[in-house]
């Protein structure tokens, strides 16, 4: 089996305000093309886990493998490069750079990666926007489009470097049912048609039940 993500005994403590054991011996694997949901009550540590998996948080013990390579212990500089290349991130709040156009927002991670020419990046970005049916918004300022559209732009941005895995932190949490449906369909399509791995933290039972696998968490432990 082709593993994209693997964790080995990940533990995390919050030291402030009091010492608190947030994550306890987290072990799980995500294989290529798998659509995984993480569910659990608020405060059970699922978001914390996601930030560790995304390499943004490196204050933990245990081991994290991405594409079978150990990521734990790399410098922040190296982690940035790994995020840039291998991980696409979609947040609950759309988090676009409001002063830039939709197209520029999508292009930014690819420009940072710098593997392609400007023209190629622009072409790719338009391609991603077209796939998500929002190519007509390309020239608009990111602050001038609706919430559902923003979330799709964020997904396009997550896809621009053809990452190994897309992570979502309640990507539909802030959207109405129609737009949630839309986002779910996009994810499903990506998973089925392009074989992309997805790891999504969600509160939405309906959303989770339609994914390939559900990881349930309680009090910092994986229970299923």
């Amino acid at each position: 089996m082709n593993l994209v993500l693997e964790t080995n005994n990940i533990n995390k403590y919050f030291k402030k305000p009091v010492l608190f054991h947030v994550l306890k011996d987290i072990n799980f694997k995500v294989s290529k093309g798998e659509f995984v949901s993480i569910m659990g009550k608020s405060g059970c540590g699922k978001s914390t886990l996601l930030y560790i998996l995304s390499t943004m948080d490196n204050d933990y013990t245990g081991k994290l493998f991405l594409n079978n390579q150990l990521v734990t212990g790399n410098s922040r500089q190296e982690l940035s490069a790994i995020r840039n290349k291998h991980i696409g991130f979609v947040f609950q709040f759309h988090y676009l750079l409001s002063e830039f156009s939709v197209l520029e927002n999508v292009m930014l991670p690819a420009k940072k990666l710098g593997r392609k020419t400007f023209k190629e990046i622009e072409f790719d970005a338009l391609q991603k926007l077209k796939m998500l049916h929002i190519d007509h918004l390309a020239k608009k300022r990111a602050s001038r489009i609706s919430g559902g559209e923003k979330q799709r732009v964020a997904i396009a941005r997550a896809l621009i470097n053809n990452p190994s895995i897309i992570m979502g932190d309640e990507p539909t949490g802030n959207l109405d049912s129609h737009n949630s449906e839309n986002v779910f369909n996009v994810f499903k399509e990506l998973s089925v048609e392009q074989g992309l791995s997805l790891l999504v933290v969600t509160h939405d039972d309906d959303f989770a039940s339609r994914s390939d696998r559900i990881i349930r968490m309680e009090d910092g432990k994986i229970i299923v």
């Binding site: 943004m56 490069a81 002063e99």
Partner: protein, 420 residues
């Protein structure tokens, strides 16, 4: 790996969308640099003017025969009193001639010196100006007018006439303006001069001289050196003073000492003669720089504040950039670049504003009795002031940007994203 294009384009977008803050910060720098340039140009212009007032009239080395008692009195030559404590009362100055012995060979020798620009002979004499039955004591100096004009800016101090006219008129005199006023004389009139020995000579006034120092203008007149020699009835090699102008003023002290030793004359260098003047100049410079640097530092704090605010506003953007793969260093560079752009743009405008203001001051009329040739406020345009100005703009904005951007670099994206 740093991708400058992306960083530059993000920095540019930030600057352009916040154009109000950006321009406020840039205006701060512009004001600081502009004020610095103006202040320094104006102050150094004033300094130069003050220096010129005295220093133009002062030769770099002045060589003459000092009337003084000899160091070794005859008593010292007598062996029997060698080990005694000798006291000599009523010492008189040594009998000495006023003229410099062998003046022309000395002049020629000094002209050979690589540091000497001009070596000018002068003949100073005490005379009386005669107006009817009134005799007024004065001083008539014999000069070579054209050379004086070249090396000591004589023409700057001639209010009517010129050094050329004096040169061409063997009976001409350049009269101190205060004397002319007292005696109601004008250019073209004749003035009677009497020597100490009693001979009376009429001289034609070819010009009026104004040094700006009233006491000098009330006694001092100039004539051709040959004219004065003729009046005094002395031979053509009779010279009392030699003035030397050097290409490097710092060499004056050493050269003066050498001349004293070599020719047994008194040689005074300009720094010794005007030591207190140097002090004044350096203190004025110090004040100028202190004020200017304060201005620039204030401008720097302006940038620091605005950048700090910008970074707080952009917290979310910073988090998102970091989440999508920009490193802390990239984020830092984005904000550093903004600071430096503000500094350079503000600095360049500052240079322009400074140049404009200096020009304006340079054209404001400023007339003073003391300085006949000065018509407007003095301003010095020195390229180095501009270089220092732009460098300081660059350096201060660099630091004003460095500290806030260091903060941006250390932002933890997780904290921000969670905080929403």
């Amino acid at each position: 790996m740093t991708n400058w294009n992306v960083i530059a384009s993000i920095a540019k977008t930030h600057l352009l969308t916040k154009i109000k803050q950006t321009s406020t910060a840039a205006i701060g720098v512009t004001f600081g640099i502009g004020a610095y340039i103006t202040l320094v140009s104006f102050m150094s212009g004033l300094n130069q003017m003050m220096d010129d007032l005295i220093l133009n009239l002062t030769p770099h080395i002045h060589i003459y025969n000092e009337i003084e008692p000899s160091d070794r009195q005859p008593l010292n030559l007598y062996d029997k009193f060698k080990n005694s404590f000798n006291v000599v009362h009523s010492i008189k100055p040594k009998m000495n001639q006023k003229k410099i012995h062998n003046a022309f060979p000395i002049i020629n020798y000094l002209k050979e010196n690589e540091n000497a620009l001009g070596v000018l002979p002068q003949l100073k004499s005490q005379i009386f100006y005669i107006a009817g039955s009134i005799e007024m004591a004065g001083s008539l100096t014999g000069i070579k007018p054209l050379e004086e004009a070249t090396y000591f800016k004589l023409d700057d101090y001639i209010v009517q006439g010129s050094s050329n006219e004096l040169h061409n008129n063997s009976n001409g005199v350049l009269l101190g303006i205060e004397i002319a006023k007292k005696m109601s004389l004008r250019v073209g009139d004749r003035v009677q001069i009497s020597t100490i020995d009693g001979g009376v000579f009429p001289l034609k006034i070819v010009g009026l001289y104004q040094s700006g120092i009233a006491d000098i203008d009330a006694i001092q007149s100039f004539a051709n050196i040959k004219t004065v020699q003729r009046i005094l009835g002395v031979p053509q090699n009779y010279i009392t003073d030699i003035n030397v102008k050097l290409n490097n003023i710092d060499k004056a002290f050493l050269l003066a000492k050498n001349i004293e030793k070599q020719f047994n004359l008194t040689a005074v260098d300009i720094n010794t003669a005007n030591a207190q003047f140097e002090t004044g100049t350096s203190i004025r410079n110090l004040i100028t720089y202190a004020v200017s640097i304060t201005l620039l530092i204030v401008a720097g704090f302006g940038i620091y504040n605005i950048l700090n605010m910008l970074i707080y506003e952009k917290m979310n953007d910073i988090a998102i950039l970091m989440a999508t793969g920009f490193s802390g260093t990239d984020v830092q560079l984005i904000f550093m670049l903004q600071a430096i752009i503000i500094g350079i743009v503000g600095g360049i405008f500052g240079l322009v504003v400074g140049y404009g203001l200096s020009n304006l001051i340079d054209n404001i009329p400023f007339e003073t009795q003391a300085l006949p040739t000065v018509k407007t406020y003095p301003v010095i345009f020195n390229i180095w002031n501009y270089v220092i100005g732009i460098s300081f703009a660059f350096i201060s904005t660099f630091f004003a940007g460095y500290f806030p951007s260091q903060k941006a670099k250390k932002i933890d994206p997780v904290t921000i994203i969670r905080g929403q």
